[in-house]
């Protein structure tokens, strides 16, 4: 009996240990994710500095001589700097498809809209199905007779 109890305790310890290990793994992954995010944003800051002081005037005629609006572009440059580099290169090399500029992706938009129309009721249903009614929502019951 004692052994069995000891065994149970050991199992609990093991489970607890495993949970701790999983949590440590999760923390390590989060830390790695955050580091990757920081590196990405710093790279974006470098691209923003270069593009907004030098590149923008070379590839966008309407931006020449206009400086006030450039600080507004900093967050965008920092967030989507790979796209900025890609477009910068395409424009420098004169590989700009004129007609494509006017083609909104309507077909994709409709499909995504339909997917959303299906997904939203499913999510709402899931949220309601798993919802647990706590004791707060039951009428109060007298557990002990008044003395």
């Amino acid at each position: 009996m004692i052994g069995a109890e000891a065994g149970q305790d050991g199992g609990a310890d093991l489970r607890c240990g495993r949970r701790m290990a999983v949590r440590r793994g999760g923390t390590a992954m989060t830390a790695a994710l955050i580091l990757a995010g920081q590196v990405y944003l710093w790279a974006g800051a470098a691209v923003a500095a270069l593009f907004l002081t030098w590149g923008i005037g070379r590839v966008e005629p309407h931006a020449r001589g206009s400086y006030l609006f450039r600080p507004l572009l900093v967050p965008g440059c920092v967030l989507i700097w790979p796209l900025v580099l890609w477009r910068w290169r395409a424009l420098e090399q004169g590989r700009d498809a004129g007609c494509a500029r006017h083609r909104p992706p309507r077909v994709a938009q409709v499909r995504i809209g339909v997917a959303l129309a299906v997904l939203v009721p499913l999510i709402l249903g899931l949220g309601l199905v798993i919802r647990q009614d706590g004791p707060r929502e039951r009428p109060p019951a007298l557990l002990e007779a008044a003395q």
Partner: protein, 346 residues
């Protein structure tokens, strides 16, 4: 029309729009805080910080719900078009409200965490395998990142620099973000809330977005689908003078066929500024004028009159048995096309 970029383009209508928007947000927040404080459950004290967090969070949800309703509403009924014109300011305000919500969450729940608050938020619950107790915070974080991305790329410059297809594709991320936001609320606050009014408003808003998108998709399918290179438009007399008929081409693009007296020309329906619907505008002083912000284009070559430099694609037209037909292959922006002479047919 802009020759140079400016920080923010405001006009009287935008000032009114933005004023109403900010007033609406403030009114919602005040009402939520007042009513919420009154209804707080005495057995589970919801203090000021949590109430503010919920006020901003639910406000961001409803703002995004309205934003996503505007598109299909305008497609279904043109009277909603004015709401569409300034939707980007709406998006930026939504991001600011959502960011405030996130700041309250981090500052309240994770202020004393041994790791940085964002790390604590993402690692405090990793039960991604279960629906009940799912780390709904991560869903909210994803939606916030998308809102940041869209707000940061909302300036006109980005539309022009990235080109409309890339910019639009980027901004389509609003849909997964909304789905994530619905899940964020459904798996988070909805599990805890006692007040059915919130659940009804939340469910009603989300279902309105879903229903309107389904309705707009059905409406789109009903629109005549034409095939082949030359697409029939209509008889010249069916186009009102100085107005246009919008045609949907087989590849999904739209062209606007304008009539100016006895001359008919076709240009892209998408304005070079922000893709406004040129076909809903009219000809003013001989130029097609965009109904959104007034950019102008000559109908015979799709170019803005000097000193402006915007250009849109043009289309070739022909007459067959008294019906105008359009060549579905667009010409490069700014290509001159002699107008079709329809004298005697109108």
């Amino acid at each position: 029309m802009s020759v140079r970029y400016v920080p923010v383009q405001w006009n009287r209508i935008k000032w009114v729009y933005d004023g109403l928007l900010v007033a609406g947000v403030l009114a919602y927040l005040v009402a939520f805080l007042q009513i919420g404080a009154g209804m707080a459950d005495a057995t589970r004290p919801v203090d000021g910080a949590i109430l503010r967090m919920r006020a901003f969070g639910s406000c961001a949800f409803f703002l995004l719900t309205v934003i996503l309703c505007i598109g299909p509403l305008a497609r279904l009924d043109r009277r909603f078009l004015p709401l569409l014109y300034n939707r980007r300011h709406f998006g930026v305000v939504t991001f600011a409200v959502a960011l405030t919500h996130a700041a309250y969450v981090l500052g309240w729940y994770f202020a004393y965490a041994p790791t940085p608050p964002v790390a604590a938020l993402l690692s405090s619950n990793t039960s991604y395998g279960t629906a009940l107790g799912f780390p709904f915070e991560a869903l909210g974080a994803f939606a916030l990142v998308v809102l940041a991305l869209l707000a940061a790329t909302s300036h006109d410059f980005w539309l022009s620099f990235l080109t409309a297809p890339v910019w639009k594709a980027l901004h389509l991320m609003i849909y997964p973000a909304y789905a994530a936001l619905v899940a964020h609320v459904a798996l988070g606050y909805l599990q805890d809330v006692d007040n059915p009014a919130f659940a009804i408003l939340f469910g009603g808003g989300a279902l309105a977005v879903a229903g309107l998108h389904a309705a707009a998709a059905l409406e789109g399918r009903r629109e005549a689908r034409s095939a082949g290179t030359w697409v029939a438009v209509c008889a010249p007399g069916e186009i009102a003078d100085k107005r246009a008929r919008i045609v949907r081409l087989p590849d999904g693009d739209r062209a606007a066929v304008f009539r100016n007296g006895a001359r008919v020309s076709a240009i892209s329906n998408a304005c070079a500024h922000q893709n406004g619907p040129l076909g809903e505008g009219r000809i003013v002083f001989g130029c097609v004028t965009c109904p959104w912000h007034g950019y102008q284009y000559r109908m015979e070559d799709g170019c803005s009159p000097p000193p402006f430099t915007e250009k849109v694609p043009t289309y070739n037209l022909r007459l067959r048995d008294g019906v105008i037909e359009i060549d579905a292959r667009a010409n490069a922006p700014g290509t001159p096309v002699p107008p079709l002479d329809v004298a005697g047919m109108i």
